[in-house]
Amino acid sequence: MDIISFICSPGVLCQVLVGLSRTVILFIVASGLSLILGVLRIPNIAHGSLYMIGAFMAFTVSKVFGGGITGYWMAVLLAPIIVAALSFIAERAIFCRLYEREHIMLFLLTFAFALIFGDLVKLVWGAEYRTVSMPRFFQGSIPIFGLPFPIYNFFLLIMGPLVAIVLWLIVNKTKMGKISRAAAVDREMVGAVGINVSLVFATVFVIGCYLAGLGGALVAPIVNVTLGMDHTLIIEAFLIVIMGGLGNIWGALLGALIFGLTQSLGILIWPQFGIIFPYAAVIVVLSFRPTGLLRSTW
């Protein structure tokens, strides 16, 4: 088969778009993880659980506001804020006391939180899965290249770059962003200059967790919100962050692109074993660039 005509065929192009919409979700969550990893040097294992809480919260908020389009927008607005508030409480109550301690302590603490949040979700929302109704506005599909492309995925393709731009602005153009970048490189110096490093860490942690919650809220209408979402996602998020370079947000974008596209194209090329493609890509990338594709901040 002519390789050019295959690549430009409607099936492949449509699948690329689907892969990109998956990339958006992965990027939003992985960028939060990367941010926390870069500045606080904590591998936040609880990130997946916060993503799951974001999704469940979206379900509850959407129900409180009666479902439909208002319910959906309120969910996307409020759920990440609630998740961020939860992470703020966790940070102020426990995390900030351990910044001076051994690094491994914080790592274990996030793992503990991952388990606690996981069971918290089971306690609060029960073991059955939940469905967030897709608002009528987003239902259905529009023909792209002659094939049906879900409208909601189109919406995600718009949200992705928006979040990326806002994140870039925060990190590069705000004072807090500059301070946190400095703290990522040399936290002791930042403290010596008189800046409250603890507050910087809290801000960055909350922003990172907000992103996890946002990812969860955005993905809620297209997947079934269920226990176990956290486990699948945290592995993917970590692989993406490692692939892209630890602490590097653009690396997270690159990693998410590779992961999302290989996943959707793999399904097209080899449907029976499509799920191995992203992991194979990780192996390939890490064999050639063990420290990640882009420069890491560690």
């Binding site: 065929s9 409607p10 099936g11 492949v12 449509c14 699948q15 689907v18 892969g19 919409s21 998956r22 089971k122 073991a127 059955e128 899965y129 469905t131 109704s133 897709m134 239902q139 259905g140 599909s141 094939l147 049906p148 492309f149 879900p150 909601y152 995925n153 993905v219 209408p221 297209i222 997947v223 079934n224 269920t226 226990l227 176990g228 979402m229 699948t232 996943q263 959707s264 399904i267 097209l268 449907p271 029976q272 499509g274 799920i275």
Partner: protein
């Protein structure tokens, strides 16, 4: 200190022995291993409730052989290794007389292998792999629900009459998924040799995002999709199908797509025009026995019975009548009594526990999901066709041949 510790441990041991030995031995104990967490839980709860409904009636009449029927449940969380461990615990520690369960076909096969050695009767109430009573069947395992060979043949009988020729198979990558996919396809190919299989797609069990799979399948342009999803994937797939508009473009079939469990889980979000097979619908056929069963269930539990309620119910009936007919607690006599037993007054009419493979004969219904003016909360099955057991169940000869006899 050491002496005190030794004394305490002996005392504890003694206490434990006393407690264990004072276990009431005057009951018929049934141990149910099933998945009570996650998406499959929606099915499993009805098995227990159906079982309980029958058991309470039996106990009210004085029980069986002067004993009451007791049951206990264990959650295997849809993991075969956990399920097997639970089954072992039930047999060795709780001393159950009968095992029952589970929705996971892989667990059912593992437990079936276990009871073969332990010689304890095991009623498979919700796992549908045809290997359970087929290839891997034996004296100690019974099935009170339909299996994939049966569903597959029934679906193939219906699909052979339809004009579709280009098929695609997609489903959950585990025992049940492959079994139902193969079941439908092999029978369809036999009945209508002109059908073509364009390709197959298998995703991991518990996959939540079907959009990339659906777009890939649509790109291949089949006429019809055989969707081989199990308890976890049923509802997710229909939801994704509605969201992507798949149901309007390419028709697809799922075993139990028309059944109430899936319908209620999705509510009015469910897509119309989905083909499916099911063994029990509380509203069809509209016989007095079925109406009474559904009404009684609704009164007790506040909801309509799902198909799994029927399975739980008939399991209790077989257990009770088996021991009654055997006249003793001897398990071998029990098995001899249950083999070939006919129940005449079930909600779906007459059914028989076949002696040759320990498979119960159930009627099968084929239909299409559609909205109903009568039920506002979920879609029901329309254009229903009843396929009697004799038309679609594999014959005893066919089953025994797979066992290599």
């Amino acid at each position: 200190m050491k002496r005190l510790l030794l004394l305490l441990s002996f005392g504890l041991l003694g206490l434990v022995l006393v407690v264990v030995s004072s276990h009431a031995a005057n009951t018929i104990k049934v141990g149910i291993v099933d998945t009570y967490s996650g998406p499959p839980a929606a099915y499993s709860q009805d098995v227990v409730d159906g079982f309980k409904m029958a058991r309470d009636k039996i106990n009210a009449k004085g029980g069986v052989l002067g004993r009451k029927i007791e049951y206990t449940t264990r959650d295997e969380k849809f993991k075969p290794d956990v399920g097997l461990a639970m089954a072992k615990e039930l047999v060795m520690k709780e001393n159950v007389d009968i095992l029952a369960g589970t929705i996971n076909s892989a667990t059912a096969l593992a437990i079936s292998d276990f009871v073969k050695k332990e010689k304890i009767p095991f009623f498979v109430s919700n796992a549908k792999s045809d290997r359970i009573t087929g290839q891997m069947g034996h004296r100690y395992v019974f099935s009170t629900n339909e299996n994939t060979a049966m569903a597959g043949k029934a679906a193939a009988v219906a699909l052979a009459k339809m004009p579709f020729t280009k098929y695609w198979i997609a489903g959950d990558d585990y025992e049940f998924g492959h079994a139902i996919g193969d079941g439908v396809w092999n029978n369809l190919k036999a009945l209508k040799p002109s059908v073509q299989l364009l390709g197959q797609t298998w995703w991991k069990v518990g996959e939540t995002d079907f959009t990339p799979y659906i777009t890939a399948i649509v790109a291949a342009k089949p006429d019809f999709i055989i969707v081989a999803t199990g308890g976890s994937g049923m509802v997710n797939f229909q939801k994704a199908a509605k969201a992507t508009g798949l149901a309007d473009k390419i028709p697809f079939y799922q075993h139990t797509a028309i059944e109430v469990t899936v319908g209620q889980a999705l509510g009015m979000d469910a897509p119309e025009g989905v083909y499916g097979t099911a063994n029990y619908l509380f509203y069809y056929p509209d016989t007095p026995a079925n109406k009474a069963f559904a009404a009684e269930f609704k009164k007790l539990y506040g909801r309509y019975p799902k198909m799994t309620a029927l399975y739980g119910y008939i399991t209790a009936e077989f257990v009770a009548r088996g021991f009654q007919k055997a006249g003793s607690m001897n398990k071998e006599k029990f098995i001899d009594a249950v083999e070939g037993m006919v129940l005449n007054d079930t909600p779906v009419g007459k059914m028989e526990m076949r002696k040759c493979d320990h498979q119960v004969t159930l009627p099968m219904f084929w239909g299409v999901t559609k909205k109903s003016p009568e039920y506002k909360d979920f879609l029901i099955a329309g254009d229903l066709v009843t396929i009697p057991a004799s038309e679609y169940m594999p014959t005893c000869e066919q089953v025994l041949k797979t066992r290599g006899k």
